[in-house]
């Protein structure tokens, strides 16, 4: 792509063949990024893949080893640093230890590029600080010493600081790492609002894949050496891709729901679980925690119990979506029941149990297998232990 060509008009922030690394040694080469104004770009990838390195290069903390980065069509390495300060705000993972500064003081430092030669805040600046602290809901922290608040509170103070800078582009490195789920959602909600209403562009790294998928317009997958993928969440979160990006060898990640599961217990199934309609999921996990290999069926593949069953059960007997349970599956299920110690039924009242599954229950009872509810099974296990 030629420099100064049309794409700069269309995109607010672009990186062309950017090469990043430390001390002149390239870590990731040929990174291409194109995002429009007001879009949210999230960098995902395993620890040590180079997400921070990319962000540090964009903020000019590290020098660019190749290519170029454009903001609004201008090369950021050629723009005056003072001008840039009004356009780009950052939030870093680096911990700051300011002495005797209140949270309000820290937020106020965001106004730095707008203050006069002595750095005094005007009334207008104070108003921006106050408004921002209300927006991030940290007004009650205003007079607290920055060093005396929790890590999570500090992250929110630093977000307020960055917002105070009134940037067009905000760069955040793992901004939510210390936040609990409520504040994570609040935090990302603020970013989303600012990007929608004020056209603020956001580039950040996140470890929370589920949140990344929901908030991002574009996702950049970083895995050593090169960029693995760059695109919309739909393009990136294909089934199985995350497992390969993070080289998941233990457990699994379900891209469609953002659900993570610990690894299944392998081995000859000890329990046959009859479930469906979401009644089985929590019991599957309970068995996983107890280290009990189990089989389950018959599940329709669009049953909401199916995704978890498929990654936790040692054996799942299933039929494709919108098809009936056939004689083949029933035979498989009966064979599996033969080899299991007992049958657990998670479906509550008998009225909701399809007659095929009922026939399996009758079969189990017929050959003398115990048929238990999850509660009964757990009680029995506890008694044995």
């Amino acid at each position: 792509m030629a420099q100064g060509a049309a794409p700069h008009d269309k995109y607010y922030f672009t990186a062309e063949k950017m090469t990043v690394g430390y001390d002149g040694v390239p870590l990731i080469e040929n990174i291409d990024i194109e995002i429009a104004k007001g879009e949210i770009l999230t960098l995902i990838g395993p620890n040590g893949a180079g997400k921070s390195t990319i962000l540090k290069t964009i903020t000019k903390q590290l020098s660019l080893l190749g290519g170029a980065v454009y903001l609004n069509g201008e090369d950021i390495h050629k723009v005056n640093q003072k001008e840039l300060a009004k356009q780009i705000a950052v939030m870093l993972t680096e911990r700051i230890r300011p002495e005797l500064m209140t949270c309000e003081d820290v937020v106020g430092t965001g106004r730095y590029p707008y203050t006069g030669s002595l750095g005094l805040l005007t009334e207008e600046d104070e108003a921006v600080v106050k408004r921002t602290m209300e927006l991030v809901r940290i007004s009650e922290l205003a007079d607290r010493d920055f060093m005396a608040i929790s890590d999570g509170q500090r992250q929110r103070v630093m977000l307020a600081r960055a917002i105070c800078q009134e940037p067009e582009l905000m760069i955040l490195d793992e901004p939510t790492s210390f936040l609990d789920i409520r504040y994570k959602l609040e935090f990302l909600n603020i970013l989303q609002e600012m990007s929608r209403k004020q056209g603020m562009t956001v580039v950040m790294s996140l470890h929370e894949l589920d949140l990344a998928e929901r908030i991002s317009d574009k996702i950049l997958c970083v895995r050593g050496k090169t960029i693995d993928r760059f695109g919309t969440p739909d393009e990136v979160f294909e089934p199985g891709y995350i497992d390969s990006l993070y080289e998941l060898t233990v457990g699994s990640y379900d891209a469609s729901s953002g659900r993570v599961e610990l690894p299944r217990i392998e081995g000859e199934p000890e329990v046959f679980v009859i479930s469906g309609n979401g009644t089985g999921t929590s019991f599957f996990r309970q068995l996983q925690r107890l280290s009990v290999p189990f089989a389950t069926g018959i599940l329709s593949q669009n049953d909401i119990d199916y995704p978890v069953a498929s990654v936790l059960a040692a054996n799942v007997i299933s039929v494709p979506a919108f098809t009936f349970f056939g004689e083949g599956e029933l035979a498989q299920a009966r064979a599996q029941i033969d080899s299991c110690g007992c049958v657990v039924i998670t479906l509550g009242s008998e009225a909701t149990i399809p007659h095929e599954l009922n026939s399996l229950l009758e079969y189990a009872a017929g050959i003398g297998k115990q048929v238990l509810s999850p509660g009964e099974y757990l009680a029995q296990r506890a008694a044995q232990a």
Partner: protein, 330 residues
């Protein structure tokens, strides 16, 4: 409010420094001397040519030291940094001693400006060493230990030179190398006033980038501070201030660390706009008090100024370290 306290203390100690000494000058005489009335000629001599310049030197150099300490603490993000502990004063002392002995060999006595230039070069050399070390260690206490070692090496070489130099003027050099405000002339006061006041104004104008730098270097850069240039200026200004002190009064310990800490706690703030003037005045007050004690505690024998500053300054350093430790616990 805190400024009023500092201002009152400054005036009180100024008067005490002029009145008190091996010979006490009555306060009425002092007023008479300054209002042009007639006073005892001996008193006039003592006040005008000895105590007055000496007290002014204590204020100016004390302020310069405290400010130099404040700048170094900002630079290294280390509350224990200061020109003395980092070996910068000793570096200045070494180069001054070498040049002094060298010029004495030709029978030339060094002037104020030459002394300052030599001290500045010495400061910069020592600072260079400290900077090299600081790149390799990012532990605060290690940096201080390294600085103290640099200081000891410089002092050892200075002692060596002083011991083997054969001149009667070496006696002066020896006294000077222990640190003292005695023998300050009005000419000296003039030179130091120009340098210290101009440098202090420069430092004050740096308040804004200093406040950004206090957050962190990266945030400062993001806020538009040219960090490289800023760091260089910080080093130059702090070295110039401490060089000026060393040239006129020799190395003085602990003022650079203790005063900014005390002032910070007095003002409950670290804002450079407040801290810079407050450190300066605080340093002046601190040195007036210490010089007063150095002169009158065992009069007519005079203590070296560092003996007194250490007595007051060292406990402050220990307090800071203990508080840091406690802070890490939670």
């Amino acid at each position: 409010m805190s400024f009023i306290i500092l201002g009152v203390l400054l005036i009180v100690f100024m008067i005490l420094n002029i009145v008190k000494g091996s010979v006490d000058v009555p306060f009425s005489d002092v007023i008479a001397i300054f209002s042009g009335g007639d006073a005892n000629e001996v008193s006039r001599q003592i006040v005008l040519s000895m105590r007055m310049p000496r007290a002014l030197a204590a204020v100016l150099l004390g302020g310069a030291l405290a400010l130099s300490g404040y700048l170094l603490q900002t630079f290294f993000h280390n509350p224990l940094a200061g020109p003395f502990v980092l070996g910068i004063s000793s570096g200045a002392k070494l180069i001054v001693a070498i040049t002094m002995v060298f010029f004495l060999g030709f029978g030339i006595k060094m002037g104020s400006i030459a002394m300052i230039v030599a001290a500045f070069i010495g400061s910069m050399i020592a600072m260079g060493f400290v900077l090299l070390i600081s790149k390799r260690v990012n532990n605060m206490s290690m940096l201080i230990v390294a600085g103290i070692m640099v200081g000891y090496i410089c002092s050892a070489i200075t002692e060596f030179i002083v011991t083997f130099a054969d001149d009667s003027d070496i006696v002066n050099l020896h006294n000077w190398s222990l640190g003292s405000f005695s023998g300050t002339t009005w000419d000296n006061v003039g030179v130091m006033a120009v340098i210290v006041i101009i440098t202090t104004i420069f430092v004050f104008l740096l308040s804004k980038p200093i406040s950004a730098y206090q957050l962190s270097e990266t945030y400062a850069a993001n806020m538009g501070v040219n960090v490289k240039a800023f760091r260089a200026i910080l080093v130059l200004l702090s070295s110039l201030l401490s060089a000026c002190v060393t040239a006129f009064a020799g190395p003085i310990s602990f003022v650079g660390i203790a005063v900014p800490q005390i002032v910070k706690n007095l003002f409950k703030s670290s804002k450079p706009l407040l801290m810079i003037p407050a450190c300066f005045v605080g340093g002046g007050v601190f040195c007036l008090l210490c010089d007063l004690l150095a002169r009158i505690a065992f009069a007519p024998t005079e203590l070296s100024i560092s003996t007194v500053t250490a007595v007051f300054g060292a406990p402050v350093v220990i307090a800071v370290m203990l508080r840091r430790r406690a802070g890490k616990m939670d």
